[in-house]
Amino acid sequence: MPQSLEYLKETPSQTAGPYVHIGLAPGAAGFQIYDQELGQDIAGPNAKGQRIRVEGLVIDGTGSPVKDVLLEVWQANADGVYPHPEHAGHESVEEGFRGWGRVITNFETGEWAFDTVKPGALMGRNGQMMAPHINLWIVARGINVGLNTRLYFDDEAEANAADPVINVIEWEKRRETLIAKRSERDGETVYRFDIRLQGDDETVFFDI
């Protein structure tokens, strides 16, 4: 027998199930328990940059909305900096900018939305700039391992074309599944981002 490598194995994932809200968003499950629920304010009051709303549906392989899905958001601020000690410049991130949030659906329709600021571009690997993007993590009943994807913005065409992550996707047609569509509504900038778990135009999910 050779020597053993004393690494541990990652704990295997299990579905978040239909009652994920009890743990992560109890108000949505129908009761108040914590003084403060986490993940309800992504950007905070002091964030620089453009205020935006992002909305969409998660759609299953039959074309139906996934009404019990929960999403988590992770994004940089408008300068392209994450509020994390390993990211250069993090000391400059605005007070109250978490960059993280939890998004639940309307249980009747499956529609979800969140308010934030548009993130800035940031340096990726090998000196290549990444276009502005929001990282999403999607869990629900029937999803055995949380799904990772990225949301990019359709008004950043030039940056998107040069983005090293988008360009990893071999099929140009599939790249479009990561681009949110901008519109203006009542003076507000809204990006639409529907996520298709399966079937025609299946969203690109990443193994990160």
Binding site: E10, T11, P12, G23, F31, L38, Y82, V145, F205
Partner: protein, 246 residues
């Protein structure tokens, strides 16, 4: 604390054969909710290496005590009083300190406090069913709760979930984000459950079974189970693999 290398690099790739596949015909809800195309493999960038951070200011000390965090004054939920405790480690067996652990579960009768749960077992007026805590500097965490009951669910006609507690953990980077379920040693329903069976390797299933821990049990008061959680580990950057932007 264990020694930490000077600079940490990328996360070890996730062993997708250790985790359940997205599609499992016997867990019926997964059939229409599983991507059919392959995941696109990404090398880590700062977007994956970084992740949200939490502090004690985000919660109150009682949040990890499900026996009292929703109970009326001087009352307790019905059920077997248990402590669930353990450590959050990474694949290098190093503790993950100051990370957020959240749990949720059914009450002792197998009923969730959720507007979508209609099982006929009663709601317990003294039990909310969720808790949260931060690991300490050694990666240690604990909760006090009641042992959840088994309950039926619609998959095949006669499926029952084993007693379980849902567990959500963060780590330091968004790439470590994990939700799983804790099961209990000796529960015969573990072997029958299609959700447990989504995990291909029986050894991986064992990793989700909390062990009775008599040494942590409080005599005449509360029984204890130990449940360690392992998150993805990181490379030591002995030879620089150029991860820019930090």
């Amino acid at each position: 604390m264990t020694q930490t290398p000077k600079k940490q690099g990328e996360f070890y790739q996730r062993d997708r054969r250790w985790h359940p596949p997205a599609f499992d015909k016997d867990y019926k809800t997964s059939v229409a909710r599983s991507p059919k195309l392959s995941l696109i493999s990404l090398e880590n960038t700062p977007s994956e290496i970084t992740g949200p951070r939490f502090g004690h200011g985000d919660m109150t000390p009682i949040d990890n005590d499900l026996l009292s965090n929703y109970a009326q004054p001087d009352q307790s939920p019905i059920g077997e009083r248990i402590i669930v405790h353990g450590r959050v480690l990474d694949e290098n067996a190093r503790p993950v300190p100051n990370t957020l652990v959240e749990i949720w579960q059914a009450n002792a009768g197998g009923r969730y406090r959720h507007k979508k749960d209609t099982y006929l077992a009663p709601i317990d007026p003294n039990f909310g069913g969720c808790g949260r805590t931060m690991t300490d500097e050694n990666g240690y965490y604990y909760f006090r709760t009641v042992k959840p009951g088994a309950y039926p669910w619609r998959n095949w006609v006669n499926d029952w979930r084993p007693a379980h507690i849902h567990v959500s953990v963060f780590g330091t980077g968004f790439a470590q984000r994990l939700i799983t379920q804790l099961y209990f040693e000796g529960d015969p329903l573990v072997k029958t459950c299609p959700i447990v069976a989504t995990i291909p390797d029986p050894e991986a299933v064992e990793q989700l079974i909390a062990k009775l821990d008599m040494n942590a049990t409080i005599p005449l008061d509360t029984i204890a189970y130990k449940f360690d959680i392992v998150l993805r580990g990181r490379r030591s950057t002995l030879f620089e693999n150029r991860l820019e932007g930090n």
